[in-house]
């Protein structure tokens, strides 16, 4: 029987690490699914900046979108994919490993 050593730093994800993308993932992870306009407002991002980051996350397979009509206008809802959720959790684990195990605040 062998004990496998799992290096948490391996979960560090450069796609997620860009500050705004990390914040987008944090919001989607906590909210489950969020409307594009709400994400924009909560993170204080322009529509074009958010769109750019969402495209990167979608290309990586981390985020998926759903379109729904509300008040005759089309709204986009964003959510993390299973892969995106795993990558985000792995990235958080890597950040915690960098901080160190002794930090009581994290």
């Amino acid at each position: 029987m062998s004990a496998e050593f799992h290096d948490p730093l391996k979960g560090f994800d450069t796609t997620i690490h860009a500050p705004n993308r990390l914040r987008i993932c944090a919001l989607l992870d906590a909210a489950g699914e969020a409307e594009f306009g709400l994400v924009q407002k909560q993170l204080d991002l322009s529509a074009s900046a958010l769109s750019k980051h969402v495209t990167v996350l979608m290309d990586a397979g981390y985020v998926e979108q759903r379109k729904a009509v509300r008040d005759t206008r089309q709204r986009v809802w964003l959510r993390l994919t299973r892969r995106g959720r795993d990558a985000y959790q792995g990235h958080l684990a890597a950040l915690r490993a960098i901080v160190g195990p002794s930090d009581p605040a994290l």
């Binding site: 944090a26 489950g32 699914e33 994290l106």
Partner: protein, 163 residues
């Protein structure tokens, strides 16, 4: 520390984690937005009426109304409740901009509710059937209504606390 070509100090990592925690807290506040008052009242009336209706359905013989009438009331009220729930859920999602989640409150609060309410409903109706005393149904009705009010107030508190 260098990770995948990115240099990151423990302070930067700590700052990134603190930022995600801040965002998580603001998203939690949105997820804890209470139901609109009209639906809270609807829900409370429904859960308060359900033990009495169920008691009527399970009664040994006709009680106040014929059994088919109780059955019709139960099916109709449940259908109306589900339709109003769908309307309220859609309005809630449009208002908050986040998904409706059932895991916002801690499990120590929700698990007893999920187990306790069905037990209360069936238990009270069964006790009424055996004893013929409607006090069981009235007590179950009051407890259900109190649980509904309690959970609503918990959401209000959580929403204010995390906002």
């Amino acid at each position: 520390m260098e990770t995948h070509g990115v240099r990151l100090t423990p302070e930067q990592a700590r700052s990134a984690l603190a930022d995600t925690e801040h965002i998580r807290a603001s998203a939690a506040a949105l997820s804890a937005t209470p139901w609109p008052n009209w639906f809270f009242i609807t829900l409370t009336l429904y859960v308060a009426a359900l033990p009495v209706i169920y008691g009527g359905v399970m009664a040994d013989g006709d009680w106040l109304l014929p059994r088919p009438a109780w059955m019709t009331i139960m099916l109709t009220s449940t259908a109306v409740y589900l339709a109003l729930f769908a309307v309220a859920a859609k309005a809630w999602r449009n208002k908050t901009g986040v998904a409706l989640r059932l895991d916002v409150l801690p499990k120590r609060a929700t698990v007893p509710l999920m187990v306790g309410l069905p037990v209360l409903l069936v238990g009270a109706a069964f006790a009424f059937r055996v004893t013929g005393r409607p006090v069981w149904l009235i007590a179950a009705s009051l407890i259900s209504a109190a649980a509904s009010v309690g959970f609503h107030l918990a959401f209000v508190h959580l929403h204010r606390k995390t906002a």
